[in-house]
Symmetry: C2
Subunit: 144 residues, 2 copies
Amino acid sequence: MFRLDPAFEATSTPLVSLPLCDVRLQADARFPWVVLVPRIEGAIELDDLLAADRTHLLDEVLAAGRAVRGLGEALGRPVAKLNVGQLGNVTRQLHVHVVGRRPDDAAWPGPVWGHGAAEAYDGPALARALAAAREALSSGAASR
Amino acid sequence: MFRLDPAFEATSTPLVSLPLCDVRLQADARFPWVVLVPRIEGAIELDDLLAADRTHLLDEVLAAGRAVRGLGEALGRPVAKLNVGQLGNVTRQLHVHVVGRRPDDAAWPGPVWGHGAAEAYDGPALARALAAAREALSSGAASR
């Protein structure tokens, strides 16, 4: 049975459940950033997924990109470039990061992973961020 | 018409041409590392690819993972974890990194991108690395 690694609960907040993945908002207000976790027991690498699930994962990575762009707009910092990463060096359960980047962000042009300390969203900002990301996801689905 | 960004020529060596991507060996002996560049003019983000090409790209990312694992074996440093990254903050032309990681490598558990200075392969080591990566790619294709 699939169980989300508790490490994700410490660093992110549930955003939406897509057909394959739990999508979570990374608890770091420095970057519009979501994490996708496929609900596949024991998966660590991409080749642990069946081909059909890999296709779903990529579709959901694109959806996550729309969420991140919507989130960037809502934060007043439109995304200039998406970064997609599947690392798992620390938390092995298969997951994919989708991060919106800008030349004026804290880590540019380096990667965000392991860069400095996360900055928490305050309560109202978190609610706004979740709403903006969900809105971008649902309008993207409607326009397919 | 597609043209490889010259930035890749400075940092990597041609390895093989797959149906969608040019696959290149990153010129950094610290990590078994390949870069895939889809031969699609003007592509920067994943959603610049057609759905069929995205599926090809993911297939080729898996093939690159086999190349990286074969390369790690040949270097006497078997891969413990694959890292896959699509960033493009510095070189915008769409490309995907596939990197073999180990707990004893120079950047573990952080990402490799932007970590320290690349270490060149010497000539014989480069030839061995290219041969090992090509061998892993061709045996993977045969066993499909």
